[in-house]
Symmetry: C2
Subunit: 277 residues, 2 copies
DNA sequence: GGCGGCGATACCGCTCCGGTATCGAGCCAG
DNA sequence: CTGGCTCGATACCGGAGCGGTATCGCCGCC
């Protein structure tokens, strides 16, 4: 399975073999065996190129999910063992720079509960959270709909907020009481940023590539970008960035999310604290 | 992994080995290797009994999920290959005897759409649906909240309805216009039925063990049981079963559910047809 | 038309898995 | 208390399968 995913991602047996730390011939053979076992052609190969068949791309998606599931089984088991021997602790993951005041309130509220355990906070770029939560590296996440998909997780809504446009201080539009999406989608000289895709690559376009909100706000302050963001970013703003509400931007809901069927007492306590905020 | 799940379920190396079709010593060794690899004690064994540790029960849960995920990858890949070679088709699973008129409306509506594919209907007992959908034997399910868990699936709500109590025709209470839960929970001589648990065993209790709604209605007609059921069961009722609304019973929501990230055109069409009903 | 890149094939050695035989620790019967 | 059982662990052996090297065959390309 790992072998197939590697080949499907690289679309090149040699590179895939290198990535897997094995030689190319066993890899060819393994893929052929997998195809024989399934009775399905997964890859169309000529001696010049390798492409995925329809079935192959299904197996790529499903296979990744399956590999994540076994990784998760691994990690969660190890963590359960640690927890039993007196080192409990939860790992919470959230986007760097988002919902920070909500997060600190949550951590305070939970810490005040009887029986609270240590909570490690893991900050990451957008789109990485889902995978961290799915493969067991994190126990719980703060996600932001509609940007993050909550598919496959249990969730509780924590807060809903509007969005504002963040602009360099002194920009002409900062005088306005409110704006509309149409006003801010194509500001001359202030392109919208490009966020990484799940695989770490960036789409093409004019805007600067950013990895988290801190970077983004810095670029806005420098007059190189603008962005539409949830209201709560104001917590990070210095004097060099101004915000104006955008009336017709979609509202953003912050949710606390965790893997289904988690039955840890510590996690339940954290979720309870979150819903009481 | 399969080995561990077998041992954890049987709590007996000999029986587990038999179930797996291997001898007992390799099984012992495999489990010990797994424990060494994870650095975790999964089972406490004396020569008289085997019990799960905390970590072991986590791995049992997670491991089952992981095995389901690889089964699903397998099956979905095979189905994708079939679909590509001209045999499309969806498998829809629902509880035998539930929501049948909704289901037939759905199938009709979908069949009328351009590009509709064949839909195989799979009927099963309650609590099996989740697994069938999770491990790829089915593409889509009709679930009934709050009885079924929709955790880990994408869903759309189709219908919400109240519940009625089903009684043998002629029972004194059938004259009443409506009832309350308190009136129907302990009817003398008409115990509530016992449904199977996910593992196929039945809880203890006075009521008859039933596998689906057809059996149940038959037992009610025979004066051996009563049950609180969604209103829509009336579609199956003969003259020998009467129903009375139960005002304070929880409402039942029928939802259409499918595995997250499914991107099949046929599935999307079916869901669209469902939401338009 | 020769060269180079790339996947497939052929063949070999070693590791790991599964099988049989046996041991050793508890529980039980008498 | 002792012999027999039940059941998991250990010891050892044989074979299948995986990974490695060497090589082939196909196809673009200069």
């Amino acid at each position: 399975m790992r072998y197939f995913v590697a080949v499907a991602e690289e679309l090149h047996f040699g590179r895939a073999a290198q990535r897997l730390g094995i030689a190319q011939p066993p890899l060819s053979r393994a893929i052929r065996q997998l195809e024989r076992r399934l009775g399905v052609t997964l890859l169309e190969r000529t001696s010049r190129s390798v492409t995925l068949t329809e079935a192959g791309s299904v197996l790529l998606r499903e296979g990744r999910a399956a590999l994540d599931a076994v990784d998760a089984a691994d990690r969660r088991t190890r963590r359960a063992a640690l927890a039993a021997t007196g080192h409990p602790g939860l790992v919470l993951v959230t986007k760097a720079g988002a919902s920070s005041e909500l997060l600190s309130k949550l951590l305070d509220a939970y810490a005040a509960e009887p029986g609270a355990v240590a909570v490690d906070v893991l900050l990451c770029g957008p789109a990485e959270q889902e995978r961290l939560l799915r493969d067991g590296r994190a126990d719980v996440a703060l996600l932001h709909r509609p940007f993050d998909s909550t598919v496959g997780f249990d969730t509780e809504e924590l807060r809903t907020e509007g969005q504002v446009v963040a602009l360099p201080a002194g920009h002409p539009l900062t005088g306005r009481a409110h704006l509309r999406m149409a006003d801010v989608t194509a500001l001359p000289g202030l392109p919208l940023p490009r966020w990484p895709r799940p695989d770490g690559t960036y789409p093409d376009g004019p805007g600067p590539a950013v990895r988290d909100h801190v970077q983004l706000l810095q670029l806005i302050a420098l007059g190189r970008a603008s962005a539409v963001l949830p209201e709560s970013v104001w917590a990070h703003l210095g004097r060099d960035v101004a915000t104006v509400p955008v009336l017709d931007a979609p509202t953003v809901t912050t949710v606390i999310a965790w893997p289904p069927h988690s039955r840890s007492r510590a996690l339940a306590g954290l979720v309870r604290a979150a819903t009481r905020l």
